[in-house]
């Protein structure tokens, strides 16, 4: 049974790291997943959970996963934007759980964007209506 006392223990274990992070947030990476009706129907929830779980398992405290609404390109859903400080925004399209995990390892951890999942490489092929 998961209890609040477990949470208190987690608090003590992570407090030091969190305080250090609060002083310096310059390396903050953001993953924003499209979660409007179109995104959810296309499978955005497992994609978001894959991002969250992969980042959690790898203890990536500098990465936040958040949601946004519909940006009007519903045929490309599930989509996600990756923001890394000092770099151009990268928009990934037609995602699934495996692709999400690969984006975390290749792009966020190792710094190599996964070119074949980026929107510009898919315009003209998978994105045709």
């Amino acid at each position: 049974m998961k209890s609040l006392s477990e949470l208190e223990k987690i608090r003590q274990q992570t407090l030091e790291r969190i305080n250090l992070r609060r002083e310096d947030r310059s390396d903050e990476v953001r993953i924003v997943v499209g979660m409007a009706t179109c995104g959810i129907a296309a499978g955005a929830r497992p994609v978001m959970m894959a991002f969250m779980t992969e980042c959690a398992l790898r203890k990536l405290s500098h990465v936040t996963v958040s949601q946004t609404g519909c940006i009007g390109m519903c045929r490309f859903e599930p989509m996600a934007d990756v923001f890394i400080p000092g770099q151009e925004k990268v928009t990934y399209v037609n995602l699934d759980e495996d692709k999400a995990r690969r984006i975390v390892t290749d792009h966020i951890v190792n710094g190599n964007p996964v070119t074949e999942y980026i929107i510009t490489s898919q315009l003209g092929s998978a994105g045709k209506e």
Binding site: I18, R45, R58, Q67
Partner: protein, 183 residues
């Protein structure tokens, strides 16, 4: 939408967008098989015209398209099972949405991964709004309030990796206790 919990995710998203500070979600499965889902928020609310537009697929608040299918999809789904959807709102006070599904009806989709839906909502909105969750069936009742979690964790954020994994496990346990094996 293949799961009731995906409808829930979509609808709660509306409350987040409405600027709610607290969103109360309750899912109650009654003995006869009726599943009642209530989402109550203290967001900006809607006037009568907006409320009507929200129930129509041709009304939406977004600016990118002229269609908004969220609430109409859920309503159609609920009606297909012989259930209902009611939407009440007061501008400046908040909105209450109640959807009833008959889980014994052949057209009722499965509940799906409620733990993923709820964990996703809480973790993607680590500051505001707060969530008060209540799950109940004839097996028992489970509650979780993010205000209490944040109080316990302060100043560690809810979306810290270790907390995220704990929360996911906790929600899975709660769902299993209330609805495991029946929906």
């Amino acid at each position: 939408m293949r799961e009731i919990s995906l409808h829930l995710l979509d609808l709660v998203q509306n409350s987040v967008t409405a600027g709610a500070r607290l969103i109360e979600v309750s899912l109650v499965r009654e003995t006869g098989g009726l599943l009642k889902m209530v989402i109550l928020d203290d967001g900006r609310g809607m006037d009568k015209a907006t409320l009507e537009a929200a129930l129509s697929p041709f009304g939406t608040s977004r600016t990118t398209r002229k269609l908004g299918f969220g609430i109409p999809l859920t309503r159609e789904q609920a009606l297909r099972t012989g259930g209902s959807l009611t939407l009440e709102s007061t501008p400046g006070k908040g909105t209450r949405l109640e959807a009833v599904f008959d889980t014994t009806h052949i057209d009722c989709p499965p509940l799906g991964s409620l733990a993923d839906t709820l964990a996703g909502l809480v973790l993607a909105n680590p500051d505001t709004p707060d969530f008060s969750l209540c799950l109940a069936s004839d097996r028992g009742q489970e509650e979780l309030d993010t205000r209490l979690l944040k109080q316990t964790l302060d100043p560690v954020p809810v979306n810290t990796p270790e907390v995220a994994l704990w929360l996911r496990g906790k929600l899975e346990e709660m769902t299993e206790n209330c609805f495991g094996g029946i929906a």
